[in-house]
Amino acid sequence: MAHPVGVVRWTGASRVGPPLLLVVVVALAAGPFVVAPQQLFGLVNLFAYVMLAVTWNLLAGYGGMVSVGQQASIGLGAYAVAYLAQTVGLNGFLALPVAAVMAGVVAVPVSFLAFRLVGGYFAIGTWVVAEVFRLLTVQWDAVGAGSGTSITSLSGYDRDVRLALTYWVALAAAAVVVVGSVLLVRSRFGLGLAAVRDDPVAAASTGVGVTTAKRVVFVLAAAGAGLAGGVLALGSLRVQPDSVYSVQWTAFMVFMVVIGGVGTIEGPIVGAVVFFVLQQTLAHYGATYLIVLGVVAIAMVLLAPRGLWGLLAGSRGTTLFPVGYRAVLGRRS
């Protein structure tokens, strides 16, 4: 071997990601000054979608854990915000980080149960947990039981101010989730997970380290989904058990991640934007729209398993974020 082999983390494209993200976030932060309130409301949902897609991808794409029960954390986050804002009297925006922490904390005991199952059975197991949360919430009178509750404690704000604040909080939350997931994936945990995610034999023979890493990802993904749930609650100012605990959220996450590209950082963000645009333009077609989403998702899994980002990045696996290590010939690190 004539060439010394070096290992680099920052390839040409991967230098672009962080400054690009910064520019995008700063540009989006101007939203309330340039965009009509109705569209701001839509963008709040987009930021929630980004959080959902990124966290679900952390689970499935990096952790090898296909969860069909992330709506448990979404619901928990939404209800935590509603409860803290309405009953405890905490400012709704300040309740948001608390809600994320609560969703993460609850995920710890849940993980001990769910991790007894693998693969497809893990998927349905998480779904059962979400159903239990829904059924318990439906019986909880303090949060309006089956009919849900409204968040009225933010009515002290002027409507436009409230909307702008919600928008900025949602944007910040999405940025935190994206940056956090990049940091997680490039950490020791992330690299360990990537090594075993596609190899059940290796996964079965791995020790405590990988289980712990998976648990960390599971808990962080729950916190992220809880954050998204809280943002959705602040956006609509209404929580209702059958909608926040709906498995439809998982359907959306699956679609966004599959369309964008599973197991990449950029894919879920691309997927969330595509999904958002489709939602804005086609959602009024109702069932037909969902049928089309399902068919497209199946086609993507079978024909383009690396998603839109995979098609864009090509075989070189271009990445905008320095999440992997790449062996490079002829360079010393």
Partner: protein, 288 residues
């Protein structure tokens, strides 16, 4: 309804749940995959039966003669054309495809049938009951239980005595070795899925005559089937009958306490089993 009666009804309900679970268990046993659209195919079968009853005028039992073979064929096709292509060492592709399939089926049914509650009417059999001492058992639930036992026994015989059944067990043990013995594993997978879909069709139609169903009933049927499999123990045919009975009894006792607690009680018993005896009540201590 008193408690003893609730338990008895629960036992009978367990038969129905066992049929749902058998197909899930069979597919997992042979291919190590989980079909997340399992329950939706049961709902699909119930709606096809509904059309045959209301449109063609067939009695409910006769719809099975159409629905079962149609779903078996559909199962074979779904396996060969969709799932076979998604099979990989990672469970992700199959789960994504079947989850998407579940959404397509639910919304497809919603397009055609609306979200109304439906039920297959049996006529006199709907209310006929058998009085044993102080207890009154519905004739139809009893009949369903007998059908469940017959299906499980038939499946056990098929797996142990027939050439294809043996090939299926062999493929489950070691796919490559089965290929080397001359077994076409793709065909075996197709047959296993066809059988699973046939049982799902029976369960869907029988359940559609016992409780009402909507286009979005599938997921809860999938969850019940899954709970039965875990409670009964993986890869255990008669374990699914026992698991079904445990779930049925848990739900009915829950409903006896408070009608709103029926489903939650079942989930809690499932979680309890998962926490205390993850190999299932009747499973081997070490998963094979």
């Amino acid at each position: 309804m008193d408690l003893t009666n609730a338990v008895l009804q629960g036992v009978l309900l367990g038969g129905l749940y066992a049929i749902f679970a058998t197909g899930l268990s069979l597919v997992f046993g042979v291919m190590r995959i989980v079909n997340l659209a399992h329950g939706d195919f049961a709902t699909l079968a119930a709606f096809v039966a509904l059309v045959l009853v209301t449109g063609v005028g067939l009695p409910v039992w006769a719809t099975l003669l159409v629905v079962v073979p149609v779903l078996a064929l559909l199962g074979y096709a779904v396996q060969r054309l969709l799932l076979q292509r998604a099979l990989s060492p990672s469970p992700l592709p199959v789960l994504l495809v079947t989850f998407a399939l579940s959404i397509v089926i639910q919304n497809g049914l919603l397009e055609v049938f609306s979200s109304d509650q439906n039920r297959l009417r049996l006529g006199r059999l709907d209310t006929a009951s058998l009085h044993v001492g102080a207890f009154a058992l519905g004739v139809y639930p009893l009949l369903v239980f007998v059908v469940a036992v017959l299906i499980l026994a038939g499946l056990a015989l098929f797996l142990s005595r027939t050439r294809t059944g043996r090939a299926m067990r062999a493929t489950s043990d070691d796919r490559e070795a089965a290929q080397l013995a001359g077994v076409d594993h793709r065909h075996v997978y197709g047959v296993a899925t066809a059988l699973a879909f046939a049982t799902v069709a029976v369960a869907g139609v029988l359940s559609g005559a016992q409780t009402s169903f909507t286009p979005s009933s599938g997921p809860s049927l999938l969850i019940f089937a899954f709970e039965v499999v875990i409670i009964g123990g993986l890869g255990n045919l008669w374990g699914s009958l026992a698991g079904g009975i445990v779930l049925g009894v848990a739900q009915n006792v829950g409903a006896w306490v408070d009608p709103a607690q029926q489903v939650l009680a079942g989930h809690l018993v499932f979680l309890l089993v998962l926490a205390l005896r993850p190999q299932g009540l009747f499973g081997r201590a070490v998963p094979a």
